[in-house]
Symmetry: C2
Subunit: 420 residues, 2 copies
C-alpha cells in the first residue's frame, strides 16, 4: 500500500488522559483512535494487526476442532437470572440497555449462559459430544477505571471457546490440550518466552483455574514463577500452602520472585453449573440422562494487541513481531528524479508480486529524517531505503527495526535475500 494514500498520519500528541505506553504509541503511530476511555477505533494499520492476531488464534482453535460461530451482544434478563448473574450486585460491570417496549437487556460481557441455552436445543445423545464452538466477537465491560489503554477496555474483541464434554475425564483431556494450544498462540505472537501458565483460583466453578500471564512492567497482576523451564507460575493473589501441596511444588515462599505480568488468557473448568441451569443433558450409552461437563477458554485479541506493544517498543516507537506486523517491509523512497522513481516502483511491484506485504513511503513532501522517524514509530520489521546514493550501487539499504546497523543489498537479488 502507498503511504500517500493511507489517510492516517502519525501524530505528535496523544489525548491528555492517556497514560499507558501501548495506547500512546498506537495513537501516535496511527493504529487506533481514542473514542473515550477504554474505547478505541481501529484505523487501517491497527485493523491489519488485529486481523493477524485473530487469524493466528482462529487457526489454532480450528486445529483443535473448534467450530466458529457468532453470538449476540444483546442479552435477555431471564437467561442470566437462571445463574444469578443478572443482578448488578453480583456482576458489577454490566452495561444495561432497554428495548423501546421497556424490556431490560444487557450487553454480553461473556457468553456461558447463552451458549448453554443454545446447546440445550441441540444435544441429546452421547454421540453428539464432545464439541467446541468458539467465536471472536465484541464484548462489553463497564470498567470503573480504564487506564491501561488496549489492555483493559470497556469494548473489546474476545475469542471465547466453550467445551462440551461427556465426563470430567473427557473434559480434563481437552483442558490439558488447551494449555498447549494457548502456549502455541503466544509463541506465534512472539511472546512465548515471557508467558507462564499460572495457577489461580477457580472461582465458583472449580478449585483451580489457569491463567496465562506475560511478564511486563505494564502488567496489573503479580505472579510467582515456580518453574522457569515448564513455564509454570502462581498468581500471587491466590498463593497459599494448599496450592503448594495440591500441585506438589517443591518450594517455599522465600524461593519465589515476584514479577509483574499481564493476564493474556484464562481457561476454566465450569463443571455442571451451566448445564444444570439450562438443563443441558445427554443420554449416555446406557440411555441414562447425564449433565454435560463444560469448560470455557478466553483470550482477547484487543488486549493482545496492547500487550504486544508493551512488550515490543523502544523510545522511537513500536517493534512488531513478524507474525503480526501490519506490513513486512517498509519501502522508503528518497528519490524524486523520474528515472529513479521508476526503479522504486519496480522494486515495489516486484516485492508485492513475490508475496511480501509492503508499505511504500512515496510521500514527496517529507524529508528523509521525517520518514525515518515515522518508520521507527510505526515499527515494521524491515526498512528498505532507496536513495540516490544506494542507486549508485544498484542497491537498497536494509535495516531491521530491531538492529542498529544497515546493509546494502543489490536490487537484482532483493527478493532472494529478503526471503532468507
Amino acid at each position: 500500500m502507498r503511504q500517500s494514500k493511507l489517510f492516517v498520519k502519525t501524530r505528535k500528541e496523544t489525548p491528555a488522559d492517556e497514560v499507558s505506553t501501548n495506547a500512546k504509541l498506537l495513537i501516535k503511530a496511527g493504529f487506533v483512535f481514542k473514542e473515550m476511555a477504554g474505547v478505541y477505533t481501529l484505523l487501517p494499520l491497527g485493523f491489519r494487526v488485529i486481523k493477524k492476531i485473530e487469524d493466528i488464534i482462529r487457526d489454532e482453535m480450528n486445529n483443535v476442532g473448534g467450530q466458529e460461530i457468532f453470538m449476540t451482544v444483546l442479552q435477555e434478563k431471564q437467561v442470566w437470572e437462571k445463574t444469578n448473574r443478572w443482578s448488578d450486585e453480583v456482576v458489577d460491570n454490566w452495561f444495561k440497555t432497554k428495548l423501546s417496549s421497556g424490556t431490560e437487556l444487557g450487553l454480553g460481557f461473556t457468553h456461558e449462559e447463552p451458549i448453554a441455552r443454545i446447546m440445550s436445543h441441540y444435544v441429546s445423545s452421547y454421540k453428539d459430544l464432545p464439541f467446541y464452538p468458539y467465536q471472536i466477537q465484541t464484548k462489553f465491560r463497564n470498567e470503573a477505571r480504564a487506564k491501561s489503554g488496549l489492555m483493559r477496555l470497556r469494548e473489546f474483541s474476545m475469542k471465547d471457546l466453550y467445551s462440551f464434554s461427556r465426563s470430567k475425564d473427557e473434559h480434563d483431556d481437552f483442558y490439558e490440550k488447551m494449555k498447549h494450544v494457548y502456549m502455541n498462540v503466544f509463541e506465534r505472537l512472539g511472546m512465548g518466552d515471557k508467558t507462564y501458565i499460572t495457577i489461580s483460583s477457580g472461582g465458583s466453578f472449580s478449585k483451580y483455574s489457569f491463567e496465562f500471564q506475560t511478564l511486563s512492567e505494564a502488567g496489573e497482576d503479580l505472579i510467582y514463577i515456580v518453574d522457569e523451564e515448564k513455564k509454570i507460575a502462581i498468581n500471587k493473589e491466590d498463593y497459599n500452602d494448599e496450592i503448594v501441596r495440591d500441585f506438589d511444588l517443591k518450594l517455599s515462599k522465600n524461593d519465589l520472585t515476584e514479577k509483574k505480568a499481564i493476564e493474556v488468557g484464562d481457561i476454566y473448568s465450569l463443571g455442571y453449573k451451566y448445564s444444570k441451569a439450562f438443563d443441558l443433558k445427554f443420554a449416555n450409552e446406557k440411555g441414562e440422562d447425564e449433565y454435560v461437563y463444560m469448560g470455557s477458554y478466553g483470550m482477547s485479541p484487543s488486549r493482545l494487541l496492547g500487550s504486544i506493544v508493551e512488550l515490543n517498543n523502544d523510545k522511537d516507537g513500536i517493534l512488531w513481531p513478524e507474525s503480526v506486523a501490519p506490513f513486512q517491509i517498509h519501502l522508503i523512497s528518497l528519490v524524486k528524479d523520474d528515472k529513479q522513481v521508476k526503479v522504486v516502483e519496480e522494486v515495489y511491484e516486484r516485492l508485492k508480486n513475490s508475496g511480501f506485504e509492503v508499505l511504500l513511503d512515496d510521500r514527496n513532501e517529507l524529508r528523509a529524517g521525517e520518514k525515518f522517524a515515522d518508520a521507527d514509530l510505526i515499527g515494521i520489521p524491515k526498512r528498505l531505503v532507496i536513495s540516490e546514493k544506494t542507486l549508485l550501487d544498484d542497491s537498497v539499504e536494509l535495516k531491521k527495526r530491531n538492529e542498529k546497523t544497515s546493509t546494502l543489498i543489490p536490487i537484482n537479488e532483493i527478493v532472494e535475500l529478503l526471503k532468507q
Copy 2:
C-alpha cells in the same frame, strides 16, 4: 467437514413468534439460533455463509480503494449532539446505556458522526483526499417491531463505507462508480437480475439518494420499475412529478407496475453536513480552507443473508447460490460396509484436496430419506450420494439442488466433472 461432528442439527420446529420465511428456514436448517425478536446467533453454517457474503463485499470495497477499519459500538453523547442526532425525539431507534459513573452512552446505529470526528484529526491538505474508509461491524437499532427475520434486526452486521472528497464533482464521480460496485456485489450474490437502482428521497442531505431494491414478495418496500434494461426504479413513497422531470423519465404513472422489494443497500451524498459539524476542512491548492464533501454507502450482510434465503427457497428448504453456499458439495454416504466406507472417505479426501468445500454426511443412525430431507433443507448446491447401488457402477449420484434429475458420474472422473 463431517456432519457427525457438526453440533447443530436440523430442527422440525421454529419459535412460535417467528413468521418470516427466511428466519424459519435458517432456524430449521441450523444456520441461526433466535435469541429474541430481531436478534440471532450465527451457528457454524450461518457463520460460513455470512463470511462469504462479507468477503465478496470486502473484495469489491477494496477494489474501489476502500480501506478497512473498525469503529466502536459505544458512542458519546456530545459527538451526536453536534448534529442534533442524540435526542430520542429525533432518532427514535437508539439503544442507550450508561457508564458506571452515570455518563450516558449510545450504541451506534450508523457512524457518520464518529468518522467525521476521526477524520478531522487527520485531514489537512488537498493531497490527503479523496479516501474511502469502510468497516464491517455490528450495529444496533431499537426497532419497535422485528417480524421480518434476518431482514430487519435489532443487532446486525453492516458494511458502511464513507467517502471524503475535495469537491462535489469529485464526489459525484465516486458516487456513480459505487452504483456499479454495488451492482457487482448483488451480481456475485446471485441477485443481480432482480435488483434495481432505485431513486428515492435524499432525506436531509441532498435532493435524491439511491437505494438498491431486490424484487421479493417478502419485501417491505414498494417500487415502480422505470427501466428494465438499465435496472432503474423509483421508490413508490417518493414518486412525484418532480422526479419524472429531474431524471427526464419518459413515462406516466399509468405505465408503472408496482412491485414489492427488499431494500438491500443505500448510498447517500452527505454534502457538508458532517464536515461542518466536525470542522473537517482541508487546504486547497491555493492554500484556502474548504470543507470536505462526504458520502456514505451502506449494505448489511445480515440482511443480505435473510434476503438470499427469501429469493432462493422452495417447499423443501434453501437453495444457496454457489458463491455463498456454506459448502459446495454435500456428500451423502448411504453405505456401512467397511470397504465401501473406505471409498466414501477416499472420495471425501480427494474432493477436499482438489479445493472443494465438502460437508460429508457420515451419520450412521439416519435413514436415506432423512439424509435427503436434511440435504434439501440445508440447500448445498450439489448433492453427491454414494450407495451400494452407485458403487456397482463405480459411480456417485450427482443431483443439483435446483434440478429434479440426477446423473451417475464415475468416481475416477469426479474431480474433473465437478470442476466443469
